[in-house]
């Protein structure tokens, strides 16, 4: 994109989400004031700015599309923004709530929960933003970190596309000198197929990565699933690893589906004891 000569105008929009990714801004501390010196924030409800219709240079979108109304709204956002950035798993891959897509359970779930389901207008399938409008940049993570968001803003201020780091968590895990939990504890870590961005938080905390940053480049998900089977995981448990926060990301969905709701006794393909 061309260099942004004047102070760029930005908006932060929320769709179906937990608000956690917006906190990447609100948790900035004094850097929030610095950011404000670099950009004009026109719309950001939680921070108190309300002008959803304003034309902006960069729109950050949190949350997935889960109601008919949200489909309309995202088109509006697109129409008013030059550069649209999704922040977080919800906006980028549907997020946790997209688990309802798996078995087409939406209607049952709604009717079970609401006394008056007729007032509930939700879509059967949760969609990531890119399923509906063109997205210029995706920031993965549940939640995205302040560092990711600031790096994206900074790059756009320089008039260049932000770097899309698709390395896997394992690489960062070793850079951080964390001890591999899969090798020392035999726990099923998603690090080998998950992209970095978090700084390998989970392994540094002695636990398995659960894939909250979505698939890495060339994610060898089938190979990893076979490894999980070798560690003793039953098919459904393997499916649960892949079908969690980024269940709709194709690399995770594809492998997850192979094991999802398969009879517990069915043996997964591949080696059992390596």
């Amino acid at each position: 994109m061309k260099s942004l000569m004047t102070k760029p105008r930005i908006a932060v929009h929320k769709f179906s989400s937990c608000d956690g990714c917006q906190l990447a801004f609100l948790n900035l501390g004094e850097a929030l004031l610095q950011l404000n010196a670099q950009v004009d924030i026109l719309h950001f409800l939680e921070a108190g700015m309300s002008d959803a219709e304003a034309d902006v240079d960069i729109a950050f979108v949190e949350g997935s599309l889960s109601t008919p109304d949200e489909l309309d709204r995202i088109r509006q956002v697109r129409a008013h923004s030059r550069y649209l950035v999704t922040i977080g798993a919800c906006a980028t891959s549907g997020g946790l709530q997209a688990l309802r897509n798996l078995d087409g359970n939406h209607d049952d779930w709604r009717d079970a929960i609401y006394a008056r389901p007729e007032f509930i207008h939700t879509l059967k399938h949760v969609k990531p933003v890119a399923a509906e409008v063109k997205v210029d940049l995706e920031l993965w993570g549940c939640p995205v970190s302040s560092a990711q968001v600031l790096a994206a803003v900074r790059a756009l201020l320089f008039g260049v596309a932000p770097v899309d780091d698709r390395d896997r968590v394992c690489l960062e895990c070793k850079r951080q000198q964390a001890v591999c939990v899969m090798v020392t504890q035999g726990v099923p870590c998603m690090g080998p197929v998950t992209r970095t961005g978090c700084g390998a938080l989970c392994p540094r905390f002695g636990r398995d990565c659960y894939g909250c940053y979505g698939p890495s480049e060339t994610a060898q998900t089938d190979t990893l699933a076979r490894r999980f089977a070798g560690l003793g995981l039953l098919p459904d448990a393997i499916a649960r690893r892949f079908l969690l926060i980024n269940s709709q990301a194709p690399a995770f969905l594809q492998t997850g589906r192979v094991f999802h709701r398969s009879p517990a006794r069915a043996q997964p393909p591949g080696d059992q004891d390596d």
Binding site: R154, F158, D167, R168, C170, L171, K174, T184, T223
Partner: protein, 364 residues
Amino acid sequence: MPTADYLPRHSLSHLFDLLQQHGYRLVGPQVIDGAILYRPLTAVDQLPSGTEQVQQPGQYRLIQTDSSRRFSWANGPQALKPLTFTPRETLWRSQLHEDGSLSFHETPEPATPTAVIGVRGCDLAALALQDQHFADDPYYRQQRDALLLIAVDCSHPADTCFCASTGDGPDAKAGHDLALTELDDGFLIRAGSERGKNLMTALPLTAASHASHQQAETQYRRASQQQRQLPTFDPAQLIHLGGHPAWDAVADACLSCGNCTSVCPSCFCFSESEVPELDGTASSHQRQWDSCFSEGHSYIHGHRFRPDTKGRYRQWLTHKFGSWVEQYGRSGCTGCGRCISWCPVGIDPLQVLAQLGDEPPTSN
């Protein structure tokens, strides 16, 4: 006059004190998060005690025994590499001034003199390889020149070790300042440099008994009997075996996760990146460990030379065991076995090498 070459176990702390008196920061093995890690320490009792280990392809477990030995394990996930080739560091900073001019600044952080205790023979050999590779790299040199190395001969190699067959272990052969052989009740000690000799003179040493020397000898012989061995192959030919079915088999098993390259004490790849400040007036140019298993490694705009795991695994293996010989006069592997243990799926490159040597390649 018999040489004074024996340090009783309880006098190990004298060595620690001596090093600290000489202004060294101490770094040594410690049990952390279920593995042996080299971390700063100040006292002997922070060292492992009676810790042994089981290493298998894709598996690493510590075992606690009653022994009072401090070095009865083979190795941990990292050798000396992080101490000299920092996983992530800033190379230089640039500043954009009001008038539009740019200036560049080094970010020198003077290295603290550091004594590393418990270094293995295989790791010294790997360090020598990195010394060659990074000979004219100022960032590496600065850290490297600050090291004092105190090796300990390996008495308990793991099942994944094959240093005897590469000729780099189990004892410390070269590159150390001091080397210890741990025995039941103390250490045989020898110097590998002038600095080491000088330190030795300040230690409360006695002459080791004949029995001690015999114990060391037996121990050495036992440690040298390793199950795993580097198979024979022609390094110059590896790169030409592209059509061999072994690559497909290993590509199917491999995660492309890069752990083998990260734990390898000789792997040196890094990528560079730019980290600008939010206000856009200053920026840091950094480098961080990279791996030939990553997509970016073989990327040029619009093309990747190694788009898949097969190509990446081949790059790794043919470089480490093949082209390395041409580059640095020997193979890049010093037999530490880390890539076998720390591979999450337990791939053993020696097996792949053996397959490549065994079966005739199909044509490429």
